[in-house]
Assembly symmetry: C2
Homo-oligomer: 311 residues x 2
């Protein structure tokens, strides 16, 4: 069975892209709807290469206003417009971006064929910014040189599964089934009480994905992403560059692994690698000394959320 | 011998990029100095892939202010800055772009490590915008929906080559050689006049390259690029879409070929292809019915200016 949540990484570089690593952009596929998280330069070309469908994107999340997380947005919005899009885009970004974006589009005489529904990010605590049929999305503050936000995508718990053969056996009318799936007991025609737990199988555990970039290490972050199935956490630097990480507001491999460990994450993907690293396997090895289920972000690769052994 | 002028095409798409075609950007290598012409999204990544050296770029030319010709510039300038560049960038663009660029960089809190020397493009006639040791660059107006400019890069004629054995034979002092290379005759110690044409070999014909995008067809354009060695001319549409070309301010294959023919160009490269064309060879075939030495723009390919047979 396919995972109900898949993550495609379009860019794993930090500010300076390399020939194999584009700037930051992730696409989360949750129940066949695509959520774009950050939009570095080249995002639309990377989407073409990975055959992600533009029309399936309705929500775009921008973590912070540094160019390597945003400069692909103008081209992507123009492309949406040229393709004749009419559905609105829900854009979640730091609060001052609304005005900046509109002024830039107007400078370039770009009249979009669709509306942008802007949701400003702010606050010192987690805030629920999206709540729909399948999932909730929460934003939370990171610690970077400028205001920066992480995102937690959490599936809603599905209904219980009713055991098929009992429908006949106890003569359960169709009309009662939704309530039983929600947890109700059932009383048969002859007055026997059948407990819900005997009629149903519990649903699988909801999946969750969190995106944490850019940020330096801080203890409280682990509490924001407690129990997440898959954590993406930036690791711009190797473990020896703690001072540089502090100064630039970034994390080392150890910082990312510590947060994954403290949060009890199912698996960790590290990325946002500095261009100085040609080979990133030593970074993964470092993180694994603290958190063994660490994997590297690789451009164009798709990861199964919930699979903790090489997702 | 390597050509003194080589053109690398980084992007051959029109506004909607495809998986194999990036938005417009050309790099002209003239005597090992790189001139960047237009800077669509992804230019810096394409430069990495084609191994063009960032430090060799000192001049950037922007034809017009549509996103598919500009949106790679923010990322490229940021990258220059992160690499510690100190040499100024000479930026030639439509006159209102200076203010737009500065305001956008300031929105993103980008403080460049180098100066931008802005040269505004304007006017209804050709204007010489650069004149250095090796070449001149002229801008000229195109006809598009917004102000748009073409560029002509023309090598200066080299000095004549003095025939080595005559230096000994006529006992020509070193100090006289530069003047002879410029065309002066020589009088020997015994008073004989040696005509310059007997002492020297003429230099090769200067090479030239012109970039024409975006534009619809107009008769006068051929006069702006008269006798150019290599003409790049957009051909967004096939020959059957003349009406669409007119409405959108673009050219068909026939328009591009007609201008190349009327200008007496050495060779023509067509590009800026609409995303509707998966296979561009029919477009090349169409143009060749009017101008046989037509070749397609292909992302990542380098062309020799002056070679008219498959450059």
């Amino acid at each position: 069975m396919q995972s109900a949540m898949k993550l495609t990484i379009l860019g794993s570089s930090s500010a300076l892209p390399t020939s194999g690593r584009y700037p930051s952009a992730h696409v989360l596929n949750a129940h066949e709807r695509l959520f774009l998280i950050d939009c570095g330069e080249g995002t639309q070309m990377q989407m073409r290469k990975t055959r992600l469908r533009f029309t399936k994107i309705n929500h775009i999340f921008i973590s912070h206003l540094h160019g390597d997380h945003v400069f692909g947005l103008y081209g992507l919005l123009s492309t949406f417009s040229l393709m004749g899009r009419t559905n609105p885009i829900h854009l979640y970004a730091p609060e001052n971006y609304d005005k900046m974006l509109r002024s830039h589009l107007s400078d370039f005489d770009i009249k979009l064929s669709f509306d942008i529904d802007f949701v400003p990010l702010s606050g010192k605590d987690p805030v629920k910014i999206l709540d729909d049929k399948y999932l909730t999305v929460t934003s939370f503050p990171l610690q970077h040189r400028i205001p920066s936000y992480g995102f937690l995508f959490r599936e809603k718990r599905s209904d219980k599964n009713i055991i098929g053969e009992y429908i006949d056996k106890y003569k359960i009318p169709q009309v009662r089934i939704p309530a039983i799936k929600k947890g109700e007991d059932f009383i048969t025609a002859d007055g026997s009480l059948i407990k819900n737990e005997d009629l149903t199988i519990p649903p699988r555990e909801p999946l969750s994905y969190s995106y944490c970039s850019d940020t330096k290490y801080f203890k409280r972050l682990a509490s924001f992403v407690k129990g997440v199935s898959l954590l993406y956490h930036e690791a711009t630097f190797d473990g020896s560059k703690e001072d540089l990480a502090q100064i630039t507001g970034h994390s080392t491999t150890y910082d990312a692994a510590r947060t994954a460990h403290d949060a009890g994450a199912g698996a960790l993907i590290i990325g946002h690698f500095s261009a100085r690293y040609k080979d990133i396997s030593p970074l993964v090895d470092e993180a694994r000394t603290i958190f063994p289920k660490t994997y590297p972000a690789i451009d164009g690769r798709t990861y199964e959320v919930g699979n903790t052994n090489d997702p």
